[in-house]
Structure formats: C-alpha cells, structure tokens
C-alpha cells in the first residue's frame, strides 16, 4: 500500500490541534504540504504567511518564544534554502521550540526539476547546533514523528516526500535518535534514511536469493545519529552500504563514514546523489537513473561481498 506522508502530516496536525499552543504556518503551499487540513480545523491558529519563507521562520521563532508550539512548512528547497540564516539565528541559536516540517524533499519531487529538488537539506540542517533532523520512511512513521516532536522541546527539522510511499513501518516503534533494525543479516549492513527504505529492503531480499544475507537498518534520525548501532553493525558485518535520497556529502553516508573512521573501520559504499543537480521526470524513475535503486544497491553489495 502506498500512502502520502504529507497527508499523514496534515492529519496529525489536526489531531494535535486540540492543544491551543499548536500553531501552524505555511508559505502559500498549504494545499501541497497539507497544512490546509489544519487551517480548516483551526483557522484562528493557522497563518498563511504568503510566499515569504524568511519572515515565516522569523515569526515562528517569535511565536515559540511566546510559548507557542509552531509548525512551519513549505517545500524543503525553499524553507531551508531561502530561510537558512533565519533558521540559524532566530531558531537554532535561541533553541526556539520551532518545528520545521519540509515536504517535497529530494529528487522524487520529479517533474518540477532541479530548482525544486532539495538534495542538501539534511546536511545543512545537521550542521546547526540544537537542531534534530529526521527523515521518516513512510506515512505511519510520519504520524509518530510529528506526535513525538510536538512535545519534545527544541527545534526539529523533518523531511517528507512529495510522492506517496510504500507503507513499511506500520507498527515499528519510533524513538528519536534510535535506528530501527528491520532485517538481520551477517554479510553486510544496509543503512538507509527517508523514503528509500523500500529499495534497501528489496535489494536485501534479492541478495538473499543469491546467498548473501544483509541487515537493513532505517536511520530516521540523522541527528543525533545512532552511533552505537552503526558501530555494532560495523563490527558484526564489516561491510556497510548507505542509501539516501540526498547528496553523498554531509548526509547519512558522510555521518556513517565519520563514525566508522573514528570508532570501527569497515568497508563502506555510499549511495546517494553524486554531486550533481537533478532533472525533470517521474520521481521514482529519477531515483533509478541516479543510482538510488534496489538494482544498484544489489550490485554494489555483490561487489563488496565477493571482492
């Protein structure tokens, strides 16, 4: 079953809305981010700021420092790209209780092309002190993430996708900063973040058919990263593949590389966007073209295990 993370986000906001401290801001994309669901339920606590991401974040900081719990949403490329300095000074530095939930993360934005495909956000946001950074895999996990962060004080960045995604984590427990082991294997460990989990699982299944057993671990939280889990699977398998819908710089692959180098060296192959912009096309096909595919993960795993 495929479900929309954005829809799950909007519905969860409505559920949280009984708490009068919850306020929601959007920058003229509410029907795309689905914060419009909150607007319908609680019009007095919804603010469509117009197309101004910087002011939206500045206002969200002012609201947070007055005791509100603001959720601010737009597309990842705009909310991070255009508002970065405001996020840095007004939210991160003040440790303001602002929840930034970006939709349309990554290359699966698809047809709108590279201008709308944010590939650097996880790295940019992980660089900011006080921020936690989360990329849920599917719609049910999105619900759990939003409910959880609403009542964890401090700033959060959550990245959601445009595309509907396969439901894989219907009942998995979500704990900030704790990776989820979905499949156990001995020969290598595949770490993924965000909506590409399904591709990692498909690759692991195909690998098992050729006698290679792969662990699959979902790293929903990029920051704080689950260091112990990475070390554990490095020691267990000695071979790691990371998979992310993000530039290979400063995302999951980089974080894993840092931890392996410092604590527990292992073979590592990073799969992600290789220092290039995207292009227009159907989202899932773009993932294939840019190598974030079950096929590529499978081939890299074979290479790693048999060489």
């Amino acid at each position: 079953m495929n479900e929309s993370q954005r829809q799950a986000y909007g519905e969860t906001l409505v559920k949280l809305g009984t708490d009068k401290r919850i306020v929601v801001l959007d920058a003229d994309l509410s029907s795309s981010t689905h914060t419009s669901l909150f607007q319908r339920a609680y019009p007095d606590r919804f603010f469509n700021m117009g197309i101004q991401e910087q002011n939206m974040i500045g206002v969200a900081a002012g609201l947070a420092l007055s005791g509100k719990i603001p959720f601010a949403s737009s597309f990842a490329v705009f909310i991070v790209g255009r508002a970065y300095d405001v996020i840095r000074q007004s939210v991160a530095y003040t440790n303001a209780n602002v929840k930034i939930v970006a939709t349309h993360g990554g290359i699966t934005v698809g047809e709108d092309g590279a201008t709308h495909q944010m590939l650097e956000d996880l790295g940019i946001m992980s660089g900011l002190p006080n921020f936690s950074v989360i990329a849920p895999a599917d719609a049910p996990e999105t619900r759990r993430v939003i409910e959880e962060i609403a009542y964890k004080n401090g700033p959060f960045y959550v990245r959601l996708s445009r595309e509907k995604v396969p439901t894989l984590l219907k009942d998995a427990e979500f704990k900030i900063g704790k990776g989820i082991v979905i499949r156990e294997g001995e020969d290598l460990a595949i770490f993924s973040t965000g909506i590409v989990l399904g591709r990692a699982l498909e690759a692991a299944e195909n690998l098992s058919n050729v006698g290679i057993s792969a662990s699959v671990i979902h790293m929903h939280t990029l920051k704080p990263i689950d260091r112990d889990l990475i070390i554990k699977y490095s020691r267990k398998t000695g071979r790691i593949i990371t998979v992310e819908e993000h530039t290979i710089f400063n995302g999951l692959g980089s974080r894993v590389a840092e931890i392996l180098s410092e604590y527990s060296p292992a073979r590592l192959i990073r799969i992600g966007i290789n220092d290039t912009f995207g292009e227009s096309g159907p989202g899932w096909e773009l993932l294939d073209k840019y190598g974030i595919s079950a096929k590529n993960i499978f081939e890299k795993a074979i290479l790693m295990v048999r060489s």
Partner: protein, 282 residues
C-alpha cells in the same frame, strides 16, 4: 523643564557614557548607532515599557526587540540602569565568558530576542505580536529598527505581514540616523520617502525628532491607541549623537574610540550632563 523628562535625558546621557566606556574597554563595538538610539532606549526603559527587572520572563510584560542588534552596548546599558543586572557586568561586554555577547542574546536578563542578523528581530516581533493577539493579551511589542537594516528584504516581508494580520499591538521605532556601515543610507541604497513606504504598507506612521523625549512619548501614546494597524515611529536621529566628532558620519559605525577620542567624548558627555541638570537642554 519637566523633571520626568530631565530624568530620562540624564538616563540617555548615562547610556551614552556607559556605551562608550564598554566599547572603549572592549576596543570593539558600534558607537554610532548606540549613541543615536540612546534617547529612544531611555524613553522606553524609563517611561514606556511595562517590565519587571525582578521577573524578566513575566508573561504580561511588554516585549522589546532590538532588531538593530549592533546597538547592543546601549541596550545592555539601558537594561543595567533599569536594574536587570549589575552595572559592573557591563564591562565584561564582548569579553570571553561574558553573558554580554557582541550582539544581544536571550540569555541576558531582560532581552526578549537574540538579534544581530539584520531584519530578523522585526520578523520575530511580528510573531510575538501575533501570539499576543491569539492569547488576547494586552501587552505591546516594541521593536527598534535601524535604517540601514531596512535594506533587508525580510523587513518588508514582516511589514506586509504585520499589516495583513492587523497587529495594532506592534510599535516599531526606526532609528533614522541616515548612515549605515559604508556611508550615507541615501548613497548606498536610498530609503526615502520612508514614511510613504510604510504608509503604503498600511502602517500608522509618525515622524518625530528621535532625541526629543516628549515627541517620542507622544507618538508612542498615539500608537498605543491604534485600532487595526501596526505602528511605526520614524525617529529622525543623528548618528553618533552627543559626541561632536562622531556625529553625522559612518566612521564610528563599528569602530572603537582610541584613548584620546574616548577622553574627549567623555568630557563632552559630562558637560552635557551638567547642562541637562541645569535645565539648559531639552
């Protein structure tokens, strides 16, 4: 002269002296914009703002955001004089392990918002005013802007959004001293006619002499009566006000005085203090 006004002018003069001493001591900071804002800050902290130094986080307090965060020296001086923290702490300004960072942070008692990256404080004050409206609180949100700061796009984003949300509980003051870091505002990126711009953005606009306490109080009182519109007071000021060789130049925007300059400045401000006490300056 009315003794209340005289008292505020003396506080403003004290803010100037303390600011210069802090900046001289640190050999870094922003004298020009601190001196131009001193009368505005003294009027706010010694007449207007509903704040309680013993309870800086009081929910019902008026909010104040120094959006032109580089005037931190004058801001800290005003807060210390108002009793938020000891005067002696002022001389840790810009030193290692001090609470008094180069630009204001919310860790300092009495500071409502961290500022320094221009324009953001204005946007933050819009958020605070919206929060006041949601909760039907009667506090006001005051925000002090610099004129160079108005080059920033976010200032105009915030201006649109304050008017759109009918934030009559928002009172902005523009320290219109006509200079920014590199030179005269009208040479770098002209702002005039600034009143017309804000009027066109559907703000109530008042223009005053920003060194005249009575005019400032009068415009603030009018702003407090606003119904449905945000307010901005264009305070026409002199950059470096109070120190002859710092006036009307960008040279001391971000430069500390040397020993000779500092001593001359203090001498001038001491003389001014005598004149205020004698009732010669209004």
């Amino acid at each position: 002269m009315n003794t209340e006004i005289q008292e505020i002018l003396l506080k403003a003069n004290e803010i100037r002296k303390l600011s210069l001493r802090m900046i001289y001591n640190a050999q870094s900071g922003h004298p020009g914009g601190s001196l131009s804002a001193a009368d505005i800050l003294a009027t706010l902290y010694f007449k207007v703002l509903r704040v309680d130094p013993k309870n800086p986080g009081w929910d019902e307090r008026d909010r104040f955001v120094l959006s032109k965060g580089h005037a931190s020296a004058a801001y800290y001086a005003a807060l210390a004089l108002r009793g938020f923290f000891p005067i002696e702490e002022l001389f840790t300004f810009r030193r290692i392990n001090s609470r008094l960072q180069g630009h204001p942070t919310i860790h300092v008692p009495g500071v409502d918002m961290t500022t320094g990256s221009l324009g953001q404080g204005f946007s933050n004050s819009v958020g605070m005013a919206i929060s006041g409206k949601i909760d039907k609180k009667d506090f006001k949100v005051y925000v002090l802007l610099g004129d160079g700061e108005c080059n920033e796009g976010i200032v105009w984003e915030a201006a649109l959004s304050a008017a759109h949300n009918n934030l009559d509980n928002l009172i902005a003051i523009l320290d219109r001293n006509m200079f920014q870091l590199d030179g005269a505002t009208e040479k770098i990126l002209s702002l005039e006619p600034i009143e017309e711009k804000f009027r066109a953005f559907r703000w109530n606009v008042y223009t005053v002499n920003g060194h005249n306490v009575e005019e400032l109080i009068d415009a603030i009182e009018k702003s407090k009566q606003s119904n449905g519109r945000p307010n901005i007071i264009i305070a026409r000021t002199v950059k470096g006000k109070g120190v002859s060789f710092m006036e009307n130049t960008h040279e001391f925007h971000g430069k500390a005085p040397n020993k000779e300059q500092f001593e001359k400045a203090m001498q001038e401000l001491n003389e001014k203090e005598m004149s205020i006490k004698k009732g010669e300056i209004e």
